[in-house]
Amino acid sequence: MKKDSLKSIIVLVSICLVVGLLLSGVNSITAPIIEKNDSAAANGAYLVVLPNATTFEDVIGDFPETVLEMKKDAGGSGFAFKIQGSSSYSQSPLQMILGIDNEGKITKLVITNYAETKGNAADFEALFVGKDATMTDVVAGVTYTTNAIKDAVKAAYDVFFEYADIEKSDEQKLQELYGVIMPNATDKTGAFAFEAVESDSAPASVTGIYASKLGIGYIMTVTSGDKTLVIGVNAYGKAYVVYDIDGNDLSADASYDAAKADAEAAMASIYEANHDAIVAKMVTEGIISSAADAQKVDFSAVSSRVVAVYKVSGGLAYVAKAEGFGGLITVCYVINDAGEIVKYATLAQTEVAYENLYGTYIAEDEYAANLTGKTVADVTDDTLLIAGSTFTTNATKLCWNDIKAAHEILNGEVQ
């Protein structure tokens, strides 16, 4: 009896041990594969945008509502985001998976939910590959959707810069400063449009000159001691703000005045040429009878779409620029002391053909008829709205808002 019990115990324990060994052997083979499969299933969509990623870790943070999830590749190949945007055209929100590598470039954008009327999902996906935080292109015909996607991608970039814990390059820092220094220098899609320019006459300390494509100013990088400064120079040739590359405002610090002077010197001749061109155009448009009638008024304390102000007979002439559908539009308003709009004209820029400034349906005369005789207080969005020309109307509104603000500051002060 005792012997039987002992045998039972030994046999059962031995079987358990053998089975246990077998299981541990199999488990050592299958466990890594299972783990890989599971993470692949959970992160399959993320792997599409970051194909070299090993495993994804959640990044927890206070995200804007358009950023649903942020994942960090433990292998260090980059970050993946689940983002969403809403377009005016559909009820179903756009959902996208976005991959951003460590250099801040977009590896891939995949649209996972696209319910728009036009089947352009693939165009969007192609549009963003290799781009960085500044995105300028638009898919033709689906402007609102493009903008919705861009907004979502921008939100992802904000999160990326905040949580990715990656040192931004000087170029990225500079691009962020564009918006701080010159918030109005946006093109029709809302992106900051700058291009690098060369200047033979620039002092050696000026290392880079970036001209607003709108022509409302310049942003320059200037070396001062061991610091790289970013200086905003407005359309009047005045250096009005100084930042260091990390975005600290040093405008009030007198020790950087020399750098400001260098920045102003770099562009001195260009402003004169710009002003001469504007005045010549005002003569052509009949706003003034001769160049001598326009006296330059200084409006250089801020960045604005208002690129020039002149005292002319009958009031102040304000010239402002914004980007419309066909390119830049330059408008000129003459406003008298009573706040009445005496004249309105569209000034063409020399490099843009006049007929491109407005769509074929819109004539300058329509704006002029709507505006002339109105007072500053009378001009509403409806006055500026001309059907069929949304972008140009928007640009006109932007110009008007800045002109109105400029008029409120200057009216009464300029004698």
Binding site: D4, K7, S8, V11, L12, I15, C16, V19, L22, L23, V26, N27, I29, T30, A31, I33, I34, N37, A41
Partner: protein
């Protein structure tokens, strides 16, 4: 009884599902589509054959008193091995089978064959028995799954069938439909086998499909 007969009896005459009515739970649960049914049949076959083999080998070592725990440990071991392998290499089938894969441990077919056959027969015969039973189980599962998927979902192996997909009988893919089909198949097999069956009066132990593997003298001994 030779090995061929041992193998063949599991397919119709002693079909584990439709005649012995064992393993009903997984049969009903995983036969809503053919893919899962094939996966389940394969997993059960591996466990059945391996456990029959192992138990047959150990039949003289395992003491009578602890035989059931020993069988369960062996079966659970094989089930877990199959489960881990499927999870690693066939994750799709693994997730389709879900909990029923683990529940092969308590599948009556496997414990039943261990207790009724493998513990009393040689290694080769036990393997043959395992293969036969596995084929019988597979035939029953696939037959049920085919009927349920073709008429319930208008597809076969996940591929849509033209025409039928517009006239599906959705209840077949849910649990009640499973019972309907199960009952139907049992009835058909019963009809098919009834001619060979002995008259009811003489039913007794001899009329039982499991009579061959049942050592009835054991029961009688205990009854005494």
């Amino acid at each position: 009884m030779n090995n061929t007969q041992t193998l063949l009896k599991g397919i119709i005459k002693e079909n584990p599902v439709l005649v012995l009515l064992l393993g009903t739970c997984p049969t009903l649960a995983v036969t809503s589509d053919v893919k899962s049914a094939v996966g389940m049949a394969a997993a059960a076959a591996i466990v059945l054959i391996l456990s029959n083999l192992a138990i047959s080998l150990l039949r003289n070592i395992i003491p009578d008193k602890v035989r059931i725990p020993c069988y369960i440990v062996v079966i659970a071991g094989f089930v877990t091995v199959v489960e881990m392998l499927m999870h690693a290499f066939f994750p799709e089938i693994y997730s389709a089978l879900g909990i029923f894969l683990s529940l092969i441990v308590v599948n009556c077919i496997i414990l039943g064959r261990a207790e009724m056959f493998a513990s009393k027969n040689g290694v080769v015969a036990s393997i043959m028995d395992g293969i036969g039973m596995a084929i019988g189980f597979a035939i029953a599962l696939v037959a049920m799954a085919t009927i349920r998927e073709v008429f319930g979902a208008g597809a076969f192996f996940g591929i849509e069938i033209p025409f039928l997909k517009d006239y599906t009988i959705p209840i077949l893919t849910s649990a009640p439909g499973g019972f309907f089909v199960f009952g139907l198949l049992i009835a058909i097999v019963n009809k098919f086998l009834s001619k060979k069956r002995k008259p009811k009066a003489e039913f007794g132990c001899e009329g039982c499909p499991s009579a061959n593997s049942c050592n009835k003298t054991d029961c009688e001994k205990e009854a005494e």
